[in-house]
């Protein structure tokens, strides 16, 4: 730790540096910013951090973040309970929600299978998923993990080892990968184009 700062300031810089995407220079800038703003704003920032940690928890049903026992999606009666979208992280759920298209419910795994990071099925919210699916209400599961090696593996594991053995009548789908909407072929990277060719479908 640098000795150029007074101790409390050094402590704040150190805390900022732990945040994702923040290097030493940004951390210093943020810390000096906190010292410059009016004192009540700084208190508001501190209170917001404390508040979010004490009130926000995981939804009992889907694993999304909520300040209630159950999140606003799971309690929404207009949501189609027979259609479930499985995502890796709560931020993926938010990305889906922003489309205003998906009217089903979610299940957040809180990660993907990655032995290198010590994440196996036991670290994911799979037992909760099995509970939800054994009710017989869900008719289709959309696997919406990222199209990475880990995301694909997780999707395949859920389909083969969890959902199929539990209830073979549940329809299992995987989100498409390929060209972005409104995208230009000549701007797309090669992996995307290869995937778009592989996942092509017949026009009728």
């Amino acid at each position: 730790m640098s000795t150029h700062y007074a101790k409390p300031l050094a402590r704040l810089v150190g805390e900022f540096e732990k945040l994702p995407g923040i290097g030493p220079k940004s951390a210093q800038r943020l810390a000096f910013h906190v010292l410059r703003i009016p004192e009540d704003e700084a208190h508001a920032l501190a209170a917001a951090i404390v508040d979010v940690r004490t009130t926000i928890k995981y939804c009992r049903v889907c694993g999304n973040f909520t300040d209630q026992d159950t999140c606003f999606i799971c309690t929404d009666p207009r949501r189609d309970q027979s259609l479930m979208c499985i995502v890796a992280e709560a931020r993926d759920l938010i990305a889906m929600e922003k489309t205003n298209e998906f009217r089903g419910v979610y299940h957040v795994l809180q990660g993907v299978i990655s032995p290198m990071e010590g994440v196996g099925p036991d670290r994911l919210r799979i037992a909760e998923l099995q509970d939800r699916l054994s009710g017989g209400i869900v008719r289709e599961v959309i696997l919406a993990t990222n199209p990475t090696v880990e995301g694909d593996t997780t999707a395949m594991y859920l389909a083969r080892n969890i959902i199929k053995p539990l209830d073979p009548s549940i329809k299992i789908t995987r989100i498409a990968h390929g060209m972005p909407a409104g995208g230009d072929l000549d701007y797309a990277d090669q992996a995307t184009l290869i995937s778009a060719l592989e996942w092509r479908r017949e026009l009728t």
Binding site: I113, S114, P115, M116, G120, P121, D122, R123, I126, T148, V149, E150, D152, T153, M156, Y157, R160, N161, Q190, A191, L193, I194
Partner: protein, 378 residues
């Protein structure tokens, strides 16, 4: 494709160099450590933006300076002529200019100039460990197949994850359900692995044939070179990539217990090799220095041929210290072959004494001494 001028500033041991190479064979003569290899390396870097010898770009910058520049005017027959400039700095990102247009993403400039380099490291393809041959395959196939690049990245990631999992299983750290996921990794491994195997097999078929023809010519029809793909399990009788994938899954099932006991993946492209037989004998074990060098040269000429077919004109041919260990007969045939190939060629050697007179007459000969390059005869 022809380099009509080359300019180097603070590159390796060159403070400044201006060179107007001849159209055909350019011979660079000099003692060791005078800058011959550096000169060939500079052309290779202008083509690929990377060095095969330097582990860090900083090594390319002349000691005591902070920035080196490489510049070449290259005339092409199937495309626009290219003025290629590269600036490599200690502090900033590598920068390229193609006909004056700035690029900082090097992938955008690769392929504007094409070159095939033979250097001492290539001998390891013939005599070294199998990993050298796999690296050679990956490098060459990647140049023309984006699908292969994609499969290679996915395979490596899958293999790393799967090995980690198998180690955890062996050491009983995988958790109650960890073992169940191996089967899913198997499918991923087989999918990407089959794509790699299919790509390697096709490439070796083509390259092997071309290399065999070259090899025959250089060795005066005395030696028959046969190059065959040796995957970790046989796929001779297997047709397409889907069938390879099925076979992969069958094979990996057979080593189920052993993999879990040893904690690592036992089959797949990471264990591939390429066998090079000369008159039926494994050149890696039985070949002389000269024989091994002849094979490495034949591989490079085959690569040159493949690139020419792909781009429609001969790429530059850079031959660093290719002549040592070759007998006079093989040297003679090699010169013939260089002439026939039609590539502008840059060749380094210690002496031109053994050169055929007619070759020397038509070549541009340069003496390299302490970072100075002078045309011979002066």
């Amino acid at each position: 494709m022809q380099v009509v001028s080359l300019d180097l500033t603070n590159f390796r041991n060159y403070q400044t160099l201006h060179l107007d190479p001849g159209p055909g064979l350019n011979v660079f003569v000099g003692e060791n450590a005078q800058g011959k290899s550096n000169l060939l390396e500079s052309l290779y870097i202008l083509a690929t933006t990377k060095s095969t010898r330097a582990s860090r770009d900083a090594e390319l910058i002349r000691q005591g300076t902070g920035l080196c520049r490489l510049q070449a005017q290259v005339n092409r027959t199937t495309d626009l002529d290219v003025k290629m400039e590269l600036a490599i700095s200690l502090v900033e990102k590598k920068q390229a200019r193609v006909n004056g247009v700035k690029h900082t993403r090097m992938s955008e400039v690769i392929g504007k100039v094409n070159a095939v380099l033979f250097d001492l490291g290539d001998l390891e393809i013939v005599r070294g460990e199998p990993s050298n041959r796999r690296r050679f395959l990956d490098l060459e196939i990647s140049q023309t197949s984006p699908r292969y690049v994609h499969a290679l990245a996915a395979y490596r990631k899958t293999l790393e994850q799967r090995n980690h999992l198998l180690r955890d299983i062996r050491d009983r750290r995988a958790g109650p359900h960890g073992g169940e996921t191996v089967g899913v990794w198997d499918v991923q491994l087989a999918t990407h692995g089959a794509a790699l195997m299919d790509g390697r097999r096709a490439f070796i078929d083509r390259l092997g044939q071309l290399a065999s023809e070259t090899h025959k010519a250089i060795s005066d029809c005395r030696d028959e070179l046969v190059i065959t793909y040796q995957p970790s399990f046989a796929i001779d009788a297997i047709g397409d990539v889907e069938e390879i994938k099925r076979e992969f899954l069958t094979r990996i099932d057979q080593v189920h217990h052993e993999e879990r006991a040893r904690g690592t993946t036992l089959i797949g492209p990471q264990r591939d090799d390429v066998q090079m037989l000369v008159n039926g004998a494994d050149s890696r074990l039985f070949g002389s220095q000269g024989q091994q060098r002849t094979i490495a040269v034949a591989l490079k000429f085959a690569e040159r041929q493949l690139i020419e077919e792909l781009i429609g004109e001969p790429p530059l041919l850079l031959l660093d210290d290719v002549l040592s260990d070759l007998d006079d007969l093989r040297r003679g045939h090699l010169f013939e072959f260089i002439g026939k190939a039609g590539s502008q060629t840059f060749l380094s050697c210690v002496s031109v004494r053994s050169f055929p007179p007619d070759i020397l007459e038509r070549a541009s000969v340069w003496r390299v001494s302490k970072g100075l390059v002078t045309r011979q005869p002066e």
